[in-house]
Every structure is written in C-alpha cells, then in structure tokens.
Symmetry: C2
Subunit: 360 residues, 2 copies
C-alpha cells in the first residue's frame, strides 16, 4: 500500500526521502511555546534537531527567546541567517574555536557553557579578539554523568573564576536534569545559587533542557528558560517518553521496499546511512512503519533495512513506498542534505538542512 | 598527550576531524590490488567507504577494473568525474530512478543488480530512454539474508527474464558470501551457472564482495571479480576480522577531551553524530583511542562521547586531542563533508567526501 503522497514523493524525488509535514511542525512549535509561556519559562529551542534557519526563525516568530546550538558551526549558520541570541551549550576549547567564537560575537549575542577551569581559562581569548564581553553559564551535572560539574561547590568556584576573568561575565547555570531527577536538580541549583550570591554574583540565566523533560516544565523553581529540541518533529523516543503522540510526529522517512526474497522478510532502501543505528534507548527495532506497524526493522546494512515480517498479516510488495517514524529524529535529520516540506498531500518545497555536518 | 600532528589539526581545522594518512591509503590500495591480481580476480572496489572520485581514480590507476556503487547518486558523482565502468549493486526501482540510470548510461558503462521480477521488469525503461543496452547481474543470497534470491532455480528464472527483455542483457551473478559460507556459495553458483547454460546463457561477470572476505579471495572457482570497500581505510571491524592490522587503519577521528568531571570518566567532542552508534558487530565500545587503548568509549549523546576511564592508568586531560580508530569507517566517513589528508606529520589538503549524503 502506497499513499498518494508517498507515490508523488517517490516519483518527484525518489526514496529514501525525509518528509516533514508543515502543519504538524507549526502545531508542535505553537504547543510547546504555549506550554513554556503557561509556566513562565522562556523557550530557547535547540536547533540540533532541524538544523535549519527557516525553522529556527519560525520558532522565534512564535515567541522563542533565542536558540541553543551544540556546535560553533551550527551557530555560524544561524547567526549568518540573522538570529541574534544564541547559547552554545558546550565546552569550547582551543584557539581555532576562540577565533570563530569572537567572529560570532560580532554577529549575535553569544552565551557559552563551561564545566571546567581549563575551558574557562581559554574563553577570554574570544572576548579579547571580539572586544565584547562573553556571557558564560556553568554547566551542572544533575544525574546524567555527561558534561557538567558534579557539585554545587565546584559550580560556585567556576562562577567565581568566570567573574574574575577579564572579558567574561558570569551569566548563570545550565542544567539538563534526568526525567526523574528534578528534586535533586532543585537542591543542586538552590545550593549553587546561594553560593554565588554569597560572593556577590547572581544567576540571570537558569536553563533546563530536553524535550522528554517537557513534562517537567516549570518544576525547577528559579528556572528562566528551557531548551527543548526534538519537539519540533518528535519521534518514537518522544512518544515512548509520553510527551508526544504519533500524530505529533512531523517527520517520516519515505522508503521503498526493494526486495522480498522470502515470505517473512524484506529489504527497505533505507539502512544505517539513512535511519542510523540509534536504538532510541532500547526501543524494539529501528523505526515504526506506519503502513505496517507490526513489521520490525530488525537490523541494518549501510543501505539496507532488514524487515522482519513474521508478525505481519499484511505484508508489503516490492515497489511499495512506506513511511517510517524514526527512533531518534535528530540523528536522522543529520544524515540528510535536505528534507521535503509537505502540507497535507501537497509538496511545498525542499528545505536544506543548512547546519548539517557542522561537526566543529 | 597530544601528538604534534594532532595539535596542528586542532589548530588549523578544529576537532572533531577525520584525518586520512595517504601513505597508508596508497599502501592499502596497492596491497589489495596485488592480492586480487595474485589470484586472477579483477578488483572492483566499492566506493561507499570513501565516496571520493579522487580516491576511486587512485584505485583505478592502481589496476582496478571499475568501481561499485550502492546508490545512483554515488554513481552520478563518479561518472561525472569520468569513471566509466560502474556496477550499482542494488535493486533500482521507479521511474525517477530509471530516468537517472538512463542519463548515467550515456556517461559510463553501467551494470546493475536485481533480485526480483518487479525490479527487472522496470529496467527496460532506462534502456529505452538511453538507447543503450543495460547489463544486469542477478543478486544471489548465500547466507546473509539480505538482498538476493535464495535458490539457484530463482536465479536462473531471473536470468531468463533479463535475457528475454528488450534492452537488457544478462551479465552474470553477484554474490556476497558470509565469511564462512564459501563452500555453499560455490554450490549455489555452480548450479546457477549450469542452469543458465542449459538455456544458452552464460555468466561473463561473477562478482564476490566484502573486505572481510579478502581472506577468501580466489576461493570461488569461476569468480571474475571482487568488490572490497573498507580495505582502503580499514577499521576495528577489519582488524577483528583478521584482514588488517592497526598499522593499516588509515583514517582516524581526531577529537578533543572537553570535560573530565570525575576521575574515572570524561567527555570527547565526538558523539553519535561523528562516530555513529554502529557497534561494529559487537565490539567493545565505539572506537579505539590510540593514546589510551584501555579507555572505553562507552556510549554517546549526539555530540558527546562518554569515556569510561576506570581501566586506564594514564588518563587524558581536558584539552588533549586524541586519535580514534572507528568501529566501522564507512558510516563514519558518511558523517563528514570532508576529510583532512596527511602524509607523516604534514597536512596535505582537504578532500571533499563528494558522494556523501547521496541517499537516492
């Protein structure tokens, strides 16, 4: 079974193709903006999900305060497109990166995150090159064991280091609590805030993160903003996390069944170079096929998706074009140079994933 | 510990960066070309690994008969660069793809693979549009349960279908045996060959595949060519398969340690959007760090590599630049717009991964 739109996509663009439904995109943008406003927290969407200035500008037009980027290269694409309030939520280090950060400071209001003295010691170089103050937030680990200092004491020490360095200003704290760790995050933040206040500093920006954490929006007393990314498209992980329904999943991969060498199996023309090997934190298979929800994308070669059809009553034929909701949409978009924008059954345009591949 | 070259890469390009050692690339090309010639099998390297016309031309200059591509978009990049003997080892289906295949036929000698009647029935459209005969090989499954017919009887039926269609010519068989399945592959091929000969056909091209199968090179009596891909760079999987040593691994990801929030862990600036979540068929961790082989890249966020240092006596500092041999180099190169070419400690040039992102 191939929908009329899927047939059109295959005919005009070929498969595999990433297709975004702009009605759903707009609805997702509006819904989360409203949710942020309802609890009095600014929205600073993370553009890692879509990597497109057009969509970032739609988020800002809907009321977002600014954006979040993970990489300098992403921020460069966004600043060149005129976005002027950018948080890079990442430790930046080295003279090559400081020169680029300085250039960014001339184009946009920049804030960066840091979690250690070595990174902070390097940041004045950017401020010196740009002749502008650089705002720095201290990244706090509250359970993920990713980046971030592990204790409020360390957070306070870094805040004081920032405040004491020429060209830097201490801007506040960045947190990314686990979905169940908001009580601990509150304790951490309260202690860190008291600590910096004891030294005459204050936290103007207190930023929490994550689309799965949208269910915790407003739970941190003192939070000034949230950094959701995936909500603009959603995916199987967001549905599993309980923050989106299938109807909110705005991006699908359209793929063709290219082989059916035996009754209980088949091959899609989308493999790990399209859908990626991201298991979505333990989901069953590598995507949901809307036309065949009981089929399982069991494994991948680079350009082959292995379909296990043993549980399927209806099975696709060679040539069928199916729609797949990916496990983790952020890494899938990152495989594409472009996505196809549709509204209902109409193809509107092709949107470049302009900040894709900006690893540095 | 940061090597002088790593410091130079970080300073001039920033990290994470993919770096290829051209001395090793040339040695790998020469070694496998010689191995093919020693057993009298032509070399038709799969360009999915490097996706670069420059490297494909080096393979051809060293003696390769032609190249293999998995996608039309890859073949378009290669044909535009002047490469004139291309096998697309993939079922192609749909009018959009047939128009592009016809355009390719005007630029290069094209052969395509097919494993089912639906795909074959569509191929004459390309031949009609181009006005040229299209060579078609029948893909045979010999144990991988990927694409490919499961029985010699089906292979013979498809060969006869090809031979009977206007504009198509039956060119032979394409196999991709498992590493331990060459005896079964021989039986399959012998039966299929006898079957087509009984109908007045013959197999001019008998193509085997895979770099891990380089240890089986020449084992299939009747094989005319082999399609290795990964051998040009090699990776942890090839070392694990016993077909390469660490010294043969020509590509490394240079990454910076950006966080060390606790003694037994750290964060690299290369996550799943650089190294991918490809586990390399069950390898421990997501890459080998040459400076810290006992460190484990335990898991990823999109731009964070989680370092487990519990087994490490020497531990990296924030700011150290390390070199990582990836699990599966083909999917890692596919994340990059470019790779940095070096010779010894000298940076030579930046090479675009020209056929990256050609999903269609």
């Amino acid at each position: 079974m191939t929908t009329p739109l899927a047939a059109k996509i295959a005919r005009e663009y070929g498969t595999p193709a990433a297709v975004i439904d702009m009605d759903k995109v707009e609805r997702n943008i509006a819904r989360i903006q409203a949710a942020c406003e309802a609890v009095g927290v600014a929205n600073r969407p993370h553009i890692k999900t879509h990597k497109s200035p057009l969509l970032a500008k739609m988020q800002i037009a809907a009321g977002a305060k600014g954006i979040t980027c993970q990489k300098l290269g992403e921020a460069e694409v966004m600043a060149d497109a005129g976005i002027d309030d950018i948080l890079i939520s990442y430790n930046l280090i080295g003279e090559e990166k400081m020169a680029r950060l300085a250039a960014l400071q001339a184009k946009a209001g920049m804030t960066v995150a840091a979690d250690n003295p070595t990174v902070i010691a390097g940041l004045p170089q950017a401020a010196k090159l740009s002749g502008r103050k650089l705002a720095v937030v201290v990244e706090c680990d509250t359970g993920r064991k990713r980046a971030g200092v592990e204790t409020p004491t360390e957070a306070v020490a870094l805040a004081r280091q920032i405040a004491g360095l020429e060209g830097l200003s201490f801007a506040g704290f960045m947190l990314y609590p686990t979905e169940t760790g908001w009580t601990e995050a509150q304790t951490f933040y309260d202690e860190a805030l008291a600590g910096v206040r004891a030294h005459g500093l204050d936290a103007a920006m207190v930023s929490t993160g994550g689309s799965p954490n949208l269910k915790n929006l407003g739970k941190l007393r003192g939070a000034t903003e949230h950094r959701p990314g995936t909500y603009i498209y959603n995916d199987r992980m967001q549905v599993a996390a309980g923050v989106a329904d299938w109807e909110d999943c705005a991006l699908s991969i359209y793929a063709t069944v290219v082989s059916r060498a035996a009754p209980d199996r088949g091959i899609l023309d989308a493999g790990s170079k399209t859908l990626t090997s991201d298991a979505g934190g333990g989901l069953d298979g590598f995507g949901l096929i809307l036309e065949h929800p009981e089929a399982r994308i069991a494994r991948f070669a680079e350009e082959h998706g292995f379909l296990d059809l043993t549980r399927s009553n209806t099975r696709p034929n060679v040539g069928d074009v199916v729609r797949i909701v990916p496990n983790h949409v952020c890494v899938v978009v990152n495989m594409m140079d472009e996505v196809v924008m549709v509204r209902g059954d109409e193809i509107i345009d092709v949107l470049p994933v302009a900040a894709r591949g900006k690893l540095r």
